[in-house]
Symmetry: C2
Amino acid sequence: MHFAEPLALRSGASIRAYDLSYETYGQLNAAKSNAVLICHALNASHHVAGVYLDDSGQVKPRSEGWWDNMIGPGKPLDTDRFFVIGVNNLGSCFGSTGPMQTNPDTGAVYGADFPVVTVQDWVNAQARLLDALGIQTLAAVMGGSLGGMQTLSWTLQYPERVRHALVIASAPNLTAENIAFNEVARRAIVTDPDFHGVHFYRYGVLPKRGLRIARMIGHITYLSDDVMNEKFGRQLRRSADASADGAAPYKYSTQEVEFEIESYLRYQGDKFAEYFDANTYLLITRALDYFDPASEFGGDLSRALAKASAKFLLVSFTTDWRFSPARSREIVKALLANQRDVSYAEIDAPHGHDAFLLDDPRYMGVVRSYFESKVTV
Amino acid sequence: MHFAEPLALRSGASIRAYDLSYETYGQLNAAKSNAVLICHALNASHHVAGVYLDDSGQVKPRSEGWWDNMIGPGKPLDTDRFFVIGVNNLGSCFGSTGPMQTNPDTGAVYGADFPVVTVQDWVNAQARLLDALGIQTLAAVMGGSLGGMQTLSWTLQYPERVRHALVIASAPNLTAENIAFNEVARRAIVTDPDFHGVHFYRYGVLPKRGLRIARMIGHITYLSDDVMNEKFGRQLRRSADASADGAAPYKYSTQEVEFEIESYLRYQGDKFAEYFDANTYLLITRALDYFDPASEFGGDLSRALAKASAKFLLVSFTTDWRFSPARSREIVKALLANQRDVSYAEIDAPHGHDAFLLDDPRYMGVVRSYFESKVTV
C-alpha cells in the first residue's frame, strides 16, 4: 500500500511518502468489526501466517508465517472468524519503506538519511493502513515483545479504535540491561568496517560481522538458561569422538567450535547476516529503547495508561528474563489502578522470551479462549 | 620468576620455559605454614593488594590491587598474620609469559603459537612457583569466579598441599549460557579485521573493536539487572536538557549516546581495549569453558571432588546470574556427600557477579571470621 501523504514522526522529522507491505487472512465482515491487527517484533514481518506457493503451486520451504501456529483457520486466532492483518513496520527490511530503499527526495538509497522511527510512529502508520482498508475499529490488536509495545501504544494513541489488546511477553519500557544488550549489538554493527559509517550500500558490502554478533547476543537473551542447558548443555560438537572414559576430547582451540551451543549461535548469526538489514537493526533496537509511555507522566505508568479503554489480555512466561513476568505485572497493576478489564496469564514455560512464538498448549489455550469468549465480532 | 623446565600442558603441548609475575604481602613464617595463594579471574593480575609508588614516593593513581579491600594489614585476609601470594597466570598479559611475548623457540612473538592453557595448567604452574618459594603446604587458596575454579582445582590436583579453600562466586563448570557469552565475545575479537587471524602484533594494530564488544558483553553479565537499574536505569546522558514537562528529550539517533548505561559500557569497552591483550582474552575465556572437573567422572561432581581433603568456605551472591548461588550449592552438596568440612554463605547483595570484588560488610565479615577462627598458621 502506497501512502502519498507525509507522515510526521515523533522526532520532528517526517517521511514524505512511503509504502507498507501487509498481508491479510480471513474475510472482513460486512460490519468491518472482525479485524485483528498483528504487530511484529524485531526481526519479523507482515508474513504472520500461512505459507507461500511457488509457480507450480508447491509450498515453498520455510515459508511459514512467523505466528502460523497461532493464526489460521481453527487456530487460537481463528481466521474463519477474524480478518487478520499483518503489516511490516516502517524502517524494516521486508518490503515496507526502510533504509535500503530509495529516498524519493534524493533519488539515492536512504541509508543514514532514513529517520529514526518510534513505536508511536509505527502505530500512526498502521492506523493509516486501517483507514485505507476502511476499518475504523479493531476487534483486537495483538503482539509479542516489541509487538506488545505497539499493541499497548495503540490503546493509548487510538483508544477508541481498539476493543481488545493482547500484549504478550512484553514490558512497559526497557530496563538498563535491555538497553545495554541493544547497545552492544549496535556497537558491533556500527564498528564493523563494512558498515562504512552507515553507507555500506554504496560500497556493495554488508556489515555481516556486526550483524552476526548482534544476532548471537539477541539469541542468548531470547532463550532461558534452563532451555539452553537442556538443548545444548556442555555437549561437544562431535560427540562421536568422545573418549571411552568420558573425559572431554577437547580440540584445545580458541577459534574452532568445541561446544554445540557455539555451533548453534554461529549458525544463527550467519543466517541472520544474510537477510537482515543492518540499518533496520539499529532503527528497531532504538525504537525499543525509546518506548516508555510513562515518561511523559513522570514515570507513573498508571497515569500513562489512563487513556486506554480497551479490554486487555496480558501473557508472560516464567523463564523470560528479557521481559520478565514482573514487567507484565507492572502493566497489569497500572491497568487495574484504572479499573480496566484485564486478564493476565503467567505461563510456566521453560523457553525464555522465545516462548511467545512456541506451541505451549496452556499459552495457546489462553489466547484461544480469550478470543472465543471475550472478543465479539 | 623464571622457570627453565618445560611445563607439560593438558592439551598435550608444552611450554619450554616461562616466567610468572607474582607479588607477595606480609611475611612467610619460619614454619612456612602461613602462605595464602590468591588466584585471579579473567582480567586481573598478580597485583592483588597494596598500591604502587612513583619515583618520588607518591602513590600512583589507580594503582590499588584488585582485591585491596580484602587483603592487607588488619583486613579480612590479614597480611599481619598471613603471607599472601598473588600470581599472574600463564597466557595472561601482565608480565607472565603469554601470547604477546617472544617465543624462545622461534625468536618471534608467540601470537597464535601460544598454546591453549587450562585451569589445571595454571595450577601446575602455580605449584612450581610455590616449590621455588619453598612452600610445601598452603594455609589457604582463595579466588573468586575463575579464581574460584582454580582454587577448587588446587584441592583436586594437590590435595595434600591445601589446608583451606575459599571458593567465591564460582561454579563447577560453565553453563551453556556462560559458554555462549564467551563465544560471542571471542567471535567479536576474531572477526575484527584488525585481529589479522591472530597475527595483529605483526601489523602494529590491535583488534580494539572486538575487545570493546567483548568487554561490554562481560560487563553486562557482571552486573545484576537490579544494580543496573539502580545505577543507570533509563537515565539519559544529558539530564540537564530534560524538558520541563518531563518528556524524554531524545536525540533520535541510533549511534549517539542517549542513555547513561550506553555511556558507561562504551567507556568500559574503550578502557579495556587499551590495555588488555586480545589473545589473552581468547585463552582465558577458553580456560573457563573447558573447566569441568566432573567430566572425567561421567558428570558426577561428588565423585570428582572425592579427592579434595581441604576444608572449604564457599560464598555466593543472590543476584549473581553469571555464577548463581545454585552453582555454588552444587559444589557444597558434592563436598558434603564426601563428608568434607564445608562452610557456605549466600550473601544477599544487589551487585551481581561483581559483588565478589566489592565491600559488602557481611561478605567481608564471613571471610574475616573464617580466616580468624578456622585457618591456623
